[in-house]
Symmetry: C2
Subunit: 513 residues, 2 copies
Amino acid sequence: MNGADALISTLVANEVTACFANPGTSEMQFVAALDGVPQMRPVLCQFEGVATGAADGYGRIADRPACTLLHLGPGYGNGVANLHNARRAYTPIVNVIGDHATYHRQYDAPLNSDIATLVKPNSIWVKSAETADDVSALAAEAVQASYGPPGGPVSLILPADSAWLPAGGEIARAQRPARAAPRGEAVEAAARALKAAKNPVILLGNQACRAEALKEAARLQAAGITIYSDTFVPRQPRGAGVFAPKKMPYFGEMALGELEGVDLMVFVGTTTPVAFFAYPNRPSVLVPEGCQTLTLADRAEDSVAGLAALADALGAPKEGPVQALALPDAAPSGGLNPYYVGTSIARHMPENAIVCDDAVTSGTGVAAMTASARPHEVLALTGGAIGIGLPLAIGAAVAAPDRKVLSLNGDGAAMYTVQALWTMARENLDITVVVFANYTYRILNVEMTRTGAGEAGPSARKLLDLGDPKIDWVPIAKGMGLPAVSCATAEEFDKAFAAAMAQKGPTFIEAVI
Amino acid sequence: MNGADALISTLVANEVTACFANPGTSEMQFVAALDGVPQMRPVLCQFEGVATGAADGYGRIADRPACTLLHLGPGYGNGVANLHNARRAYTPIVNVIGDHATYHRQYDAPLNSDIATLVKPNSIWVKSAETADDVSALAAEAVQASYGPPGGPVSLILPADSAWLPAGGEIARAQRPARAAPRGEAVEAAARALKAAKNPVILLGNQACRAEALKEAARLQAAGITIYSDTFVPRQPRGAGVFAPKKMPYFGEMALGELEGVDLMVFVGTTTPVAFFAYPNRPSVLVPEGCQTLTLADRAEDSVAGLAALADALGAPKEGPVQALALPDAAPSGGLNPYYVGTSIARHMPENAIVCDDAVTSGTGVAAMTASARPHEVLALTGGAIGIGLPLAIGAAVAAPDRKVLSLNGDGAAMYTVQALWTMARENLDITVVVFANYTYRILNVEMTRTGAGEAGPSARKLLDLGDPKIDWVPIAKGMGLPAVSCATAEEFDKAFAAAMAQKGPTFIEAVI
């Protein structure tokens, strides 16, 4: 057994069984070792941002980490944007980053770089396996560290000689740390404050938006407290049979407008809400003036236990409200827009679907029309780095092969990680991709005004517009191996989407809006 | 004038006139300010790795920096791999990285990250403009720092409020630092050692491979000294009328085989050659045992002056040998391979063309067949991070609109930054793209054996093979707005390539090999 064998055996022994990879020479021992451990599923991604985004989607759905295999500093660099998103989603991921052999680093060969520094901003744990004998223990430590709580990406640097030299010792085991329930005093303080407040709200985020937590939150809503969720949540059930909290609006002034008169905010699984960006003369912190704030459970604590204890303390009913099923009566017709897309999704999306949302400005319309659809789960863009919608779907589909996965993407966002389409085809994943083609970074046209930057002139427009030339998505998707169709009317989209839901395997729909 | 106006005015005043950009909300003031300074050319890239690779190509050809405009940490992250290559090419680049407003950072909004740490491994200078009044002076300092010598990417972090607040003061000026000539003692020592050596070689890299330096190196060759160049050189003239040094072989044992018996290596513009990767039981340092080494000029010094002084000290002839023009007699025929592609390139490539080489294993065939072609320049992959060939061509074409640009790419390499095709179409750049479609990471099949990892089994093969499904490049290129054709025979390629050379504007050729 060499270090690479020890690494993969340790990962598999600790339930890490998917590897999203783009290897190079320094990772060849890892690649070879895969053949000895068939429990590990290797998934090739033709760009590392696909691999890291896929690992994020996998982790959110499987609730255990996938590993990535990345080629030194530049390979990791390509994965940074989606690891930023994963860090903001608190997703466990074990990044395995190949490096030069320990004795070779000193010569500063062309691919040498300061990996330890590069990984720091997006890793909650970093170590390098400087000998083959270290590998198994460090791999188990990496898995354990990735769980947090609240979890996140970890970086295990694997020098080539630590992979190829013989490794002794046992296969090490990781423990999965439990989340601590919030202390009784925190629950009592929240209960007291909520009873005293005139107009309180509870804000949920992260684990507090998972299915079990939402059931408890619904009880609190039944007790008369308004419940909100963060704007962007890593994983949240939605649709029929699920409690639907209000969502914090994206724009700060809208959020503060809605919260006017609120005198208490209690945070569960999240913290003080802030504006996504700063703007001249607009507030950064989205808490009304004079409003008290209180944390029931931070991101690392057990939100479910906290919410249940709070609901009990307040004498809330045993069950709260859930969304009723309400499907659209008829297919939409006319020119296509995001609301019509949402209508068709609501009509045809099967129960238990996973929706990966990187649709940016088009997402609002879809969300509005699918609120009462069959029960599904939504994985949102938690870190603001667009280009996650396609990779996230790959990871979700690998983690849950029996669930239909939808990938909703702005055209600007989809182009970032367009290589993901090929992996969907290769792995024959049950993913329906929708790209909203509006041929512009639409959000930036809005933001340009909001930042006070004024009207876009010809130079500025050159940096916002995607329509010259218009990207033709259908041949691109077909070139990567997917069946693909373009829809410019609601009728066409409804038909194409219904067909996609009726079959298994990857398919691509361009929605020209 | 706000900070953004001051920044762009300062850049333009210091000859930075091209901006490869993918902006977001925090960069809207910069985008708006572009309209006030039409001397700055904004070029939109639909992925930041395209922007940074283009800035590298621009800097290598223009010999002055372009700027990039990147969206916080994740935007920079997407650009890391090609900045790694640029660092290894010593290319001046001014990265402008937008950040949250200074007062907003403390709230850790979703796009917040530790930019200063992330940029460190690939920046030779980093500062953040914490006030609008700082911007102009820091921008000039950034430009100056990017020149080195030997030059490289610098990172100027621009908080949103430093861009939108009023900026006072003058537009600052950068100085371009001169390279120092090697000291007389270094020249004398090299001359003495060369006279005493039985079998000396001179190894050139970086600036020592530019046109003026090669002329002086040719004189030394005429004086009987064998001249080598590094394996990967940022910019090197080639073909008829140019001195052609030998090239250090990629594989270490081949290099050492060639250098057997060499008793002196003199380095000019480079340093001790090392193996690209480490392998079990193979050497890292590519200097024969017992061979003396000596540096005439390091990367920061003036290689041209050093070589000229050395040639004079040795009494070398005033002129050395150059390659004679020798074009292929006839068009190749039969099944396509890289050598036939090279033959057609040699037949039709016009004088003064720029060849951006990311062709990996296919590059050898092309290089062999174009050695005696019309004079051209080659930009190589200096840092080993594939995915540079398409972006590099964008930058070269923007810097030199009157020169024909060729972009040669392995299929695995091209997929990394495939979004570059759209920018070529939008900007109507005179680039001919060739993608060698062999449907595998061929180099890794070779490296697998060399690393002693053994034969690839089914799992390993899944990570090396790109042929299931086969990517169909022509529809992808067309979807991005380029005319495109696929060639499977030498006759087809020769015809397609001749046609591409006969017209202006971007075109795409898939070479199925």
